[in-house]
């Protein structure tokens, strides 16, 4: 089962983007992104707090649609998911 993870802005600088990875069935969003973010401690700390929960300003999208960060711990990823993780927007 393969999914794609995109990080943006400072998260991209720390962790890269367009990461395609194999995941096991039933893996949750939190577990997946924790696994990837742990490759860079600064990236992990930017996204997760000391309890391993998403920092409250982190925004998640699945296939272009927002996911509540409190639902991410119980939401499994599925084959083909396009996942985006980013900080508050600042366009305009």
């Amino acid at each position: 089962m393969t999914v794609k993870i995109r990080f943006f802005a400072q998260f991209r600088e720390l962790l890269g983007t367009d990461i395609i990875t194999d995941v096991s069935s039933g893996m949750t969003f939190v577990a997946l992104i924790q696994t990837i973010a742990k490759k860079n401690p600064a990236g992990y700390t930017a996204i997760f707090d000391e309890n391993g929960a998403f920092r409250e300003f982190v925004i998640l999208m699945k296939n272009g649609k927002r996911i509540d960060i409190t639902d991410a711990a119980k939401t499994p990823v599925v084959d083909g998911d396009d996942i985006a993780v980013f900080p508050p927007v600042a366009g305009g």
Binding site: F8, A9, F54, I59, M61, R66, P87, V89, G91, G92
Partner: protein, 140 residues
């Protein structure tokens, strides 16, 4: 035209094309790179989603303020001080709808369209902080 692009646009052409016989007012918002002791600004977007969001905002503004025409062009990539970042052109029958529609669009873009800015300086760079509160963490 709703677009996320690296190239600049000719605002004069946009104004000319926005006008209809029934148009009474055209309002242009031109956001530019301000010199806050920076060398350049770098803009990044989640392009597919950002374009969909801009189209949704333009549609909402058209209905809410009875706009006759909307252009939103948001630039990405590296921009110099003084360059255009965001151009919004709206046309309406009267000035109130045009001003209010333009304001609605820029505030909606700042609130929710996935675009980010990094100010580049001689010493490196700093990401412009976005507005907090939209990580949607539920309260217990």
């Amino acid at each position: 035209m709703i677009s996320i692009q690296t190239e600049d646009v000719d605002i004069g052409v946009l104004i000319r094309e926005a006008k209809k016989p029934e148009t009474g007012a055209v309002v242009v918002f031109d956001g530019v790179v301000r010199d806050d002791n920076i060398t350049e600004m770098e803009l990044e977007a989640y392009e597919d989603v950002a374009k969909q969001e801009l189209e949704r905002i333009a549609g909402d503004a058209t209905v809410k303020f009875r706009l006759q025409h909307v252009d939103i062009i948001h630039r990405i990539g590296r921009l110099l001080v003084g360059e255009n970042i965001l151009i919004i052109v709206v046309a309406a029958g009267h000035r109130n709808e045009a001003y209010d529609g333009s304001r609605f669009i820029i505030e909606a873009i700042k609130a929710g369209v996935p675009i980010w800015k990094k100010e580049l300086t001689k010493d490196g760079g700093r990401w412009v902080p976005g507005e907090h509160g939209h990580g949607t963490k539920k309260t217990p």
